[in-house]
C-alpha cells in the first residue's frame, strides 16, 4: 500500500544542510497498525506529514497504491484526502465555530454527499461513538477526550483506508487515552483500517502491531518489542 524508498527531508540554510529525515525505507501493508516512536526532533511528525501528502520529501520515492506521490496534482491529493486518508491530531483541531455535528459532517461536504445521506451518516457516527447528546455543543464545551472522540469520528466518516494520528493521546489523561486506543484497535481489527500513529508512550505503542523507532531522521530499529 505504501512504499518509501530513500526518503530524505532536509532544510537548506545558507552553508549548511540540516537533515530531518535521511534514507527512510519503509513498506506498509494494508491492515497494519503502526506506531512511530522516537525522541523529540527525530522527524516523526515530518514522516507522518509526508505520508499524508501534507509535506513533500526532498529526495526519494513515495509510492501510494503504486502511484508516485510527487506526480500527483493538488486536485488528486485532495481526492485522496477525501477518500483514503483520515487525520487525527494531538490538539484535536476541531473548528470552534462549528458544532460537534457540523464538525463531523464537514468532510462529507467536501465530498459532495447528498444532504439526506449526510444526515444518516453523521447520525450513524454519533451513535457509534455515543455522542448523540453532544451533537449541538461546540468543541470548547467538551472535555479533551470527548473532543478527540469527535476528531476520530470526523476522520472516520469518510471511511478512509488509512488513519494518520499524530500523538492522538498526547493531551489526554490515561483513561481517555485508553478509550481512544481501544477505538483504534477495534477499527484496525474489525474494519481493517490501516493506522499509523506517532506517540511517546510505550503503553500506547503496545496497541499497535508494529513499531518503528526513529532517531535523528533515520529508522534505527523496527519492532523493538517483538524480539523480547
Amino acid at each position: 500500500m505504501i512504499k518509501l524508498r530513500n526518503i530524505d527531508k532536509y532544510i537548506d540554510k545558507r552553508f549548511q544542510r540540516t537533515f530531518i529525515l535521511k534514507g527512510i525505507n519503509l513498506d506498509i501493508q494494508e491492515g497494519e497498525f503502526i506506531t512511530v516512536m522516537g525522541p523529540s526532533g527525530a522527524g516523526k511528525s515530518t514522516l507522518l506529514n509526508i505520508l499524508g501528502f501534507l509535506d513533500d520529501p526532498s529526495e526519494g520515492e513515495y509510492l501510494f497504491y503504486h502511484e508516485p506521490v510527487h506526480g500527483l496534482s493538488e486536485k488528486r491529493k485532495s481526492e485522496y484526502h477525501k477518500s483514503h486518508i483520515g487525520f487525527v491530531f494531538q490538539a484535536y483541531h476541531l473548528i470552534d465555530e462549528m458544532t460537534v455535528y457540523e464538525n463531523i459532517e464537514m468532510p462529507l461536504l467536501y465530498r459532495k454527499v447528498k444532504s439526506k445521506k449526510r444526515k444518516a451518516m453523521v447520525a450513524d457516527m454519533l451513535d457509534r461513538f455515543n455522542i448523540v447528546a453532544k451533537k449541538d455543543l461546540f468543541p470548547p464545551q467538551l472535555s479533551g477526550g470527548q473532543q478527540q472522540v469527535v476528531g476520530v469520528a470526523r476522520a472516520l466518516i469518510g471511511s478512509p483506508k488509512i488513519i494518520l494520528a499524530d500523538e492522538p493521546t498526547g493531551n489526554l489523561h490515561s483513561e481517555q487515552s485508553e478509550y481512544i486506543m481501544e477505538l483504534f484497535k477495534k477499527l484496525n481489527e474489525e474494519e481493517g483500517v490501516t493506522i499509523i500513529q506517532v506517540t511517546h508512550s510505550e503503553k500506547m505503542a503496545a496497541y499497535g502491531n508494529r513499531i518503528i523507532n526513529l532517531k535523528d531522521g533515520a529508522v534505527v530499529e523496527e519492532n523493538p518489542y517483538e524480539e523480547e
Binding site: 493538488e74 484526502h81 491530531f89 476541531l94 473548528i95 457540523e102 465530498r111
Partner: protein
C-alpha cells in the same frame, strides 16, 4: 456547503463583535460617502441633459483677449441661422433681471423679481420646457406677452387661471400666454419669467443684422450630423472678414460651448448663475475613493492580523480535502457577506445624512432606489470593496500549509510590513485631507477678512428704482434725520462686482488696441459713503453730476483707480485734467482713487473708470452705528413713507461679498466633513489593530511587568510603534498636500502663503488622535495582571 460557509461566517462575526463592528462600520461609512458623492456628482453631471436636443445645442460665447464672456450681440443668432444651413434653430435670451430686479404686480400682489428674461419665440423649439397651459408655438410671438413658471402662476394668480390674464412688469402690461413647469434644478438657467423679445424691437441694442453691444445669451441647435468644429471655423472666418473694421469684433473668436458642458466646464464671465467646477467634482470623487480605500484597508489589516485564528481552520479544511480555490471562494464569500451588511448599514446612514449633505452641497439630492444607475453604483461599490478588501486575506489565508499550521507553529499573520505600509497610507491620506481643509479655510477666511479698500460692513444694498432716482435728493434729506446714517449713493453696480466694460480713450495716452476697462456710474456721494480714499485730485461734486446729466453740452468728470493710472505708467498727479472719452461723451479726470477690490479675489484689481452719469441699478446706504436693526427699521420707515408702492428688499454688502465665495465655502465644508470621516475610519482601524497587538503580546507584557516595567512604559511601548507610522505618513502627505494646495491657491489672484505651521498642526493633531486611540488599548495592556497573562500561555 454554502450554508456551512455562511454559518461559520456568521458565528465568526458574532464571536468577535468588536472586529465585526469596526469592519462593518468602516465599510458602511465608506460606502455611504461613495453613495452621497455619487448622488451629488451625478446631479452635477446631469445639468441640461434633459432636453431632447441637448447634445446638439451650443451656447455661443465670445473669447476676447481681455475676457471670455457668455454674451454676444443680438445679431449673431439670426445671422448664423440665415447664413449656415448647419444651424437648425436658435434662440436669444436677454437677462434683464441680472442688473436690477423688476417689479411684478398682479392686483395686490407685488414682488421684486430677478429671474426674468426676454426670449425669442423659438425658446420652446430649442429647449424642452414642459408647457402646462398655453401654446408653445405662439406663446412668445406677439409683443407684451409673457410665459411664467408654475410657481409664479401660483404666486400671482393662486387659483385664477393665468393664461389670458395680465401681469404688470415695471409698469407695463404683459399678457400671460403660457405656464411652464418649473425649470429643473439641474439647469444652468432657471428663469421664472420669459417675456417675448419682440416687445423690445426698436431698442438700440436689439438688431438682427447690425453689430451692437454684447448683451444676449445665444443658443443654437446644430443640424443632425453636422460638425461643430467645422461650423465654428466658418463662423469665425465670416466674422473676421465681415467686421474687419470693427476693432472689437475682429479681435474676438466665438467659442461654441456644448449645452451639457456649460455648468461644469464653462468658466466664462457673465454666467447666468453660479456655476459648478469640474475640478471640485473630481476632487469629491477622489475623496470618496480615498475613504473607501481606507475602510478596505481596515478590513485587510484586521483580517490578516487575525489570520492566526483562522489558520487552523484553513489547515483542517485542507486536510479534509478542500482545494485551495474553494478556500479562496470561502474567504471572498465572507468579505462579500460583510460588504452586504455594510451596504445595508450604509443605506441607513445615507438616509440619515442626505438632508445635511444636500445643504452642504447646495443641491436638492434625492435617492431613487429603483433606478438602474443607483443600483448599479451600489452593486459596483459592493463588488469593488469585496475584491479590494477580500483579495489579500483570501489569497494569504488560503496559502497556509496545513502541516505548518496544524503542528501549532506560530503563524505570522501576514506580512507586518504590508500592514504597516497600509496604515501609513491611511494616515498619509488623512493628514493630506486635514492640511487641505485648513488651507481652504484659511484662504476663505483671508478673502472674507481682507481689507477691500471700501466700507463693507453696515452697508445696505437696495434696488435703485426710477422713482427713487428721480427723488433721490429728497430721500437723502429724509435719511439725514435717521440716527446712525452715514451716507447714501446710487451706482450702476455694487462694489463687490463691477462688470460693465467700456473702451475709454485718454488724452495723450496710447492705449493698447482693444483697450477695455471696467466702468461704474455713480452719484457724488459714493466715495464718501463707502470710505474710498482719493489719492490725487478730488471727488465728484454736485456740479459734476449736474453737468454730466444736462440735456445739452454734456460734460463728464472722471475718476480713475490707481490700477488704471499704473497701466499708463504716468504718476497719478499728472493724469489730473486729461480728457477722457467714455460712453459717447467726454470730460476731464478730476481725481485718482485708491484701488479697491471690485470682483472676487480670484481676479487682480483691474482698471476702473467712474463717472457721474445717471441711470442706476443699486442704492447703497451706509450706516455708522452699532444698533443696526433700529437704523434699518427707520430706513424702512423712510422708504415706505416715500415709496409705498416699491418693495423694500434689502441685502448687506458683506453678505453679497461672501456669496462670491460660495463655491469655495462649499468645497471647504465638504472637505472638512470628509476629512473628519477619513480620520474616523482610519482610527477605527487603529483600534482594531492595537487591540490585536495587545492580545498578541499579552505574554510579552506579562514578562516585562514581572521584570519591573511600569504601566507608562508599557503604554509607550505600544504607542511608539504607531507614532512612527503616523510620522512616515506625515512625511508622505506633506509634499503631496503642498503641491495640490499651491495649485489650488493659484486660482486666486490674492492668496495666503502656505505656512509650515499649518502642516505641523495637521501632523500633531493626527499623532495626538492616533496616540489617544492606541492608548485606549494600551492602557488595557498595561493594567493586565502578569500572573494571569503568563498562565494563559
Amino acid at each position: 456547503m454554502l450554508k456551512n460557509f455562511i454559518k461559520v461566517a456568521l458565528r465568526n462575526l458574532t464571536k468577535h463583535k468588536g472586529y465585526s463592528f469596526i469592519n462593518i462600520l468602516g465599510l458602511a461609512v465608506g460606502i455611504a460617502v461613495c453613495t452621497l458623492i455619487f448622488l451629488y456628482v451625478s446631479k452635477e453631471l446631469s445639468y441640461d441633459s434633459y432636453h431632447k436636443k441637448s447634445k446638439r445645442i451650443y451656447r455661443i460665447t465670445i473669447d476676447h483677449p481681455q475676457a471670455h464672456v457668455a454674451v454676444t450681440p443680438s445679431m449673431i443668432s439670426p445671422t448664423l441661422q440665415q447664413l449656415f444651413p448647419e444651424v437648425e434653430d436658435g434662440v436669444r435670451l436677454l437677462d434683464v433681471g441680472r442688473f436690477s430686479p423688476l417689479v411684478v404686480r398682479h392686483g395686490e400682489k407685488v414682488f421684486e423679481e430677478r429671474k426674468i428674461a426676454y426670449a425669442d419665440s423659438t425658446l420652446f423649439d430649442v429647449f424642452d420646457f414642459k408647457m402646462l397651459a398655453g401654446d408653445a408655438k405662439t406663446a412668445l410671438v406677439k409683443p407684451q406677452t409673457v410665459v411664467i413658471t408654475r410657481d409664479m402662476a401660483q404666486r400671482y394668480f393662486g387659483n385664477e387661471s393665468p393664461v389670458g390674464n395680465t401681469l404688470e412688469i415695471n409698469d407695463n402690461d404683459f399678457e400671460v400666454t403660457g405656464v411652464i413647469e418649473n425649470i429643473p434644478d439641474n439647469s444652468h438657467f432657471k428663469f421664472d419669467f420669459f417675456m417675448s423679445l419682440v416687445t423690445r424691437s426698436g431698442w438700440s441694442q436689439l438688431s438682427d443684422s447690425e453689430w451692437r453691444a454684447a448683451n444676449f445669451y445665444t443658443y443654437i441647435v446644430l443640424q443632425e450630423g453636422a460638425e461643430i468644429l467645422e461650423l465654428n471655423r466658418k463662423v469665425n472666418d465670416y466674422i473676421s472678414k465681415q467686421f474687419s473694421d470693427n476693432e472689437f469684433a475682429s479681435a474676438l473668436s466665438f467659442v461654441f460651448e456644448p449645452l451639457e458642458d456649460i455648468h461644469l466646464y464653462s468658466g466664462v464671465r457673465e454666467a447666468i448663475q453660479s456655476q459648478g467646477d469640474i475640478r471640485y467634482i473630481i476632487a469629491a470623487i477622489a475623496i470618496a475613493i480615498l475613504i473607501l480605500i481606507i475602510a478596505c484597508i481596515n478590513y485587510m489589516n484586521l483580517a490578516t492580523a487575525r489570520s492566526a485564528r483562522r489558520a487552523r481552520e484553513v489547515g483542517i479544511r485542507k486536510v479534509l480535502g478542500s482545494e485551495r480555490k474553494r478556500l479562496i471562494g470561502q474567504f471572498y464569500g465572507e468579505s462579500a457577506f460583510l460588504t452586504l451588511l455594510a451596504i445595508v448599514v450604509s443605506v441607513l446612514l445615507v438616509e440619515l445624512f442626505l438632508p445635511w449633505f444636500s445643504q452642504l452641497t447646495g443641491q436638492a439630492l434625492t435617492i431613487d432606489y429603483t433606478s438602474t444607475k443607483f443600483l448599479g453604483m451600489i452593486a459596483g461599490a459592493g463588488i469593488i470593496v469585496t475584491l479590494l478588501a477580500g483579495s489579500y486575506p483570501a489569497l494569504m489565508l488560503s496559502s497556509f500549509s496545513p502541516a505548518a499550521v496544524l503542528k501549532g507553529s506560530k503563524v505570522t499573520g501576514g506580512s507586518p510590513k504590508l500592514r504597516k505600509f497600509l496604515v501609513v497610507f491611511q494616515f498619509a491620506a488623512s493628514i493630506f485631507l486635514i492640511i487641505s481643509t485648513m488651507v481652504i479655510y484659511k484662504q476663505i477666511n483671508y478673502m472674507q477678512q481682507k481689507e477691500l479698500g471700501y466700507k463693507q460692513d453696515n452697508v445696505l444694498v437696495l434696488t435703485a428704482y426710477n422713482d427713487l432716482e428721480n427723488r433721490f435728493d429728497a430721500f437723502l434729506s429724509e435719511m439725514e434725520q435717521v440716527p446712525g446714517f452715514k451716507g447714501a449713493a446710487l451706482a450702476s453696480d455694487t462694489p463687490t462686482s463691477i462688470r460693465a466694460a467700456y473702451g475709454p480713450d485718454v488724452e495723450g495716452i496710447d492705449e493698447p488696441p482693444n483697450y477695455v476697462a471696467n466702468g461704474l456710474r455713480i452719484t457724488p456721494e459714493f466715495t464718501e459713503a463707502l470710505n474710498i480714499n482719493i489719492v490725487a485730485g478730488r471727488a465728484f461734486t454736485q456740479g459734476d453730476f449736474t453737468r454730466a446729466n444736462q440735456s445739452e453740452n454734456r460734460e463728464y468728470a472722471v475718476l480713475i483707480n490707481e490700477s488704471a493710472a499704473a497701466d499708463f505708467g504716468t504718476p497719478p498727479e499728472e493724469l489730473i485734467g486729461r480728457r477722457v472719452q467714455i460712453s459717447g461723451e467726454s470730460g476731464p479726470i478730476v481725481g485718482v482713487i485708491e484701488d479697491f477690490h471690485f470682483s472676487s479675489l480670484h481676479q487682480p484689481i483691474e482698471p476702473l473708470y467712474l463717472f457721474p452719469r445717471a441711470s442706476f441699478n443699486k442704492l447703497l446706504i451706509s450706516f455708522n452705528t452699532s444698533d443696526v436693526s433700529t437704523t434699518l427699521n427707520e430706513t424702512r420707515a423712510v422708504w415706505n413713507k416715500m415709496f409705498p408702492q416699491l418693495p423694500f428688499e434689502h441685502e448687506f454688502l458683506d453678505q453679497e461679498y461672501n456669496a462670491l465665495y460660495q463655491q469655495e465655502t462649499r468645497a471647504g465644508n465638504i472637505f472638512t466633513s470628509f476629512a473628519i470621516l477619513a480620520i474616523f475610519v482610519a482610527c477605527l482601524g487603529l483600534v482594531g489593530l492595537a487591540s490585536f497587538m495587545v492580545e498578541q503580546r499579552t505574554q510579552e507584557i506579562g514578562v516585562r511587568k514581572v521584570l519591573g516595567a511600569t504601566a507608562t512604559q508599557v503604554m509607550a511601548l505600544f504607542s511608539k510603534d504607531f507614532v512612527v507610522l503616523v510620522l512616515i505618513g506625515f512625511l508622505i502627505a506633506v509634499p503631496v498636500a503642498w503641491y495640490t494646495m499651491s495649485k489650488w491657491l493659484q486660482n486666486f489672484a490674492y492668496q495666503i502663503e502656505l505656512q509650515w505651521f499649518l502642516f505641523l498642526i495637521a501632523g500633531l493633531v493626527t499623532i495626538l488622535i492616533a496616540v489617544l486611540t492606541v492608548s485606549w488599548q494600551a492602557i488595557k495592556a498595561a493594567r493586565l495582571d502578569p500572573a494571569k497573562s503568563l498562565r494563559s500561555e
